[in-house]
């Protein structure tokens, strides 16, 4: 038994069976995390480098914790304070690390396609922890796991991704995964933040009215406004964005159904989501973070087998 791919570069490369295997393995790891000793010896002969060229809190900690729970040896690399500032290339950096006998690379980079480039040049298994505006596969997997845990299945569920779809790698990975697993997907947000041909290209519904989108869905995955990736003005102000597209208590009270609220983090409270919603009963944001460790354990475990 193994995944159809040696690397986890994106959901686009995974089959439906791969996704099912990862999610079912994650369920077993979630049980491990409830035990008095939250650790298994599965990866005790594996060394993993966490290569983070971009800021991260949840993903980096989650990966590191997952690696430690699997008994792997870990090395943490952050671009700031490294020889990258002296002009060392990405490939040279990684090859130098690999010459120290590293088996797997977990990588986050601001350039889309960086992990794909590495995968063509190095023998180690690579897990993409987010590359530019391309993909963030483990986030999509943990989102799917959280939906499955809450609603029992992904098949036929209506999921809306709200906000900055244009710059969101979480959105793209989520769309690929949810479509593969039989869910219905809608994107909602201001027209300036939704790619023009997304409906035709990815087969998703598009809605510019937030209330209509919330009325339609079973699950609302609220995305962060990614100001760091925007190099032009795409909406007039954060305040105006909140008024038009912020998920508020008032808006949830106005729709006639219970929905599940998700957010990949970090949250801009009072911009894309209000605090009383983020902390409310509908929210499974903290469960997503908890499930992140189990899902990443599953991904690391399953990919380690292709690296004997």
């Amino acid at each position: 038994m193994q995944l159809s791919t040696k690397h986890l570069l994106g959901i686009k490369d995974l089959t439906k069976e791969d996704i099912s295997i990862i999610l079912s393995t994650a369920a077993q790891f979630k049980e491990v995390l409830q035990r008095p000793v939250k650790k298994v010896p599965s990866l005790r002969d594996v060394t993993i480098v966490n290569l983070f060229y971009e800021n991260s809190t949840r993903t980096r900690i989650s990966f590191e914790l997952a690696e430690k729970r699997l008994s792997a040896d870990t090395i943490n690399f952050a671009a700031s304070g490294s020889s990258v500032s002296k002009g060392e290339t990405l490939l040279d950096t990684v090859n130098n690390i690999l010459s120290m006998k590293v088996d797997m690379v977990v990588m986050r980079h601001s350039a889309s396609g960086a992990p794909h480039f590495l995968a063509n040049h190095i023998p180690a298994a690579i897990i993409n922890a987010g590359d530019g505006i391309n993909e963030h596969p483990t986030q999509a997997l943990l989102d799917a796991f959280s939906i499955q845990e809450k609603l029992g299945t992904l098949e036929g569920k209506k999921v809306v991704l709200i906000g900055d779809i244009m710059h969101s790698r979480v959105a793209l990975s989520n769309i690929y995964l949810l479509k593969k697993m039989g869910a219905e997907v809608m994107v909602a947000g201001p027209p300036t933040l939704i790619p023009k041909y997304i409906k035709e290209a990815l087969g998703v519904k598009v809605e510019y009215n937030l209330k209509n989108a919330l009325q339609w869905c079973d699950v609302a995955n609220v995305l962060r406004i990614q100001l760091e990736r925007q190099n032009q003005v795409l909406f007039s102000s954060l305040r105006e964005y909140n008024l038009a597209y912020g998920v508020s208590r008032k808006l949830l009270d106005a729709i006639s159904k219970d929905i599940v609220i998700m957010h990949p983090g970090p949250i801009n409270r009072g911009v894309e989501i209000d605090s009383d919603v983020a902390d409310g009963n509908e929210s499974i944001i903290l469960q997503q973070v908890e499930n992140g460790v189990a899902v990443r354990m599953a991904a690391l475990y399953l990919l380690s087998g292709n690296n004997s």
Binding site: M1, Q2, Y301
Partner: protein
């Protein structure tokens, strides 16, 4: 193909093992039964049925343990993990591990590791339906054995639950 246990013998053997377990452990309060995933749970399910019939008023603590993440051949072949459901503490309890076939002993070694992560048992005993003697790779022996057989490495012992028989290929 040789039949080791036919349908009737299989039922009698499981019933005998259940009797032996109860003979040695009169008080079930301090005993927990753990079937090993995936194939050991068929025999453990049947054994627990027998124990519940024999002790209808006693509470039987019974769980399932998966040892996939503890295997020592994990790098040779990855396997899909099965569900572990142990909703009771094993701390200071006598644990009866139940499996279908004891062969090299490596599965039981992994099970002992997995058990340690759930707590410190007072004692662990091993109950198997079939013991393939002389094939052990670790110093592990059963406390309760349905049938001991002599076989060579090239042979396979299979418990066919659909036909309710144990065969040697």
């Amino acid at each position: 193909m040789v039949t080791i246990l036919d349908k009737q013998q299989l039922h009698l053997t499981i019933l005998r093992l259940a009797h032996q377990l109860l003979e040695n452990h009169l008080n079930l309060n301090d005993i927990v039964f753990v079937g090993l995933q995936p194939r050991g749970i068929h025999v453990s399910n049947k054994m627990i049925e027998c124990i519940k019939e024999l002790c209808p008023n006693e509470k039987v603590n019974y769980g399932l343990l998966d040892i996939t993440f503890y295997r020592d051949d994990i790098r040779n072949e990855l396997r899909i993990a099965n569900k572990t459901t142990i909703d009771f503490s094993v701390e200071n309890k006598t644990v009866i591990l139940i499996d279908d076939v004891l062969y090299t002993g490596r599965t039981i070694r992994a099970a002992l590791d997995a058990l340690l992560d759930l707590g410190r048992a007072k004692k662990v005993e091993l109950c198997v339906l079939v013991d393939r003697r002389f094939n052990r790779e670790l110093p592990i022996q059963p406390d309760y054995c349905g049938k001991a057989i002599d076989s060579v490495v090239s042979q396979k012992v299979k418990v066919e639950w659909d036909k309710e028989q144990v065969v040697l290929y």
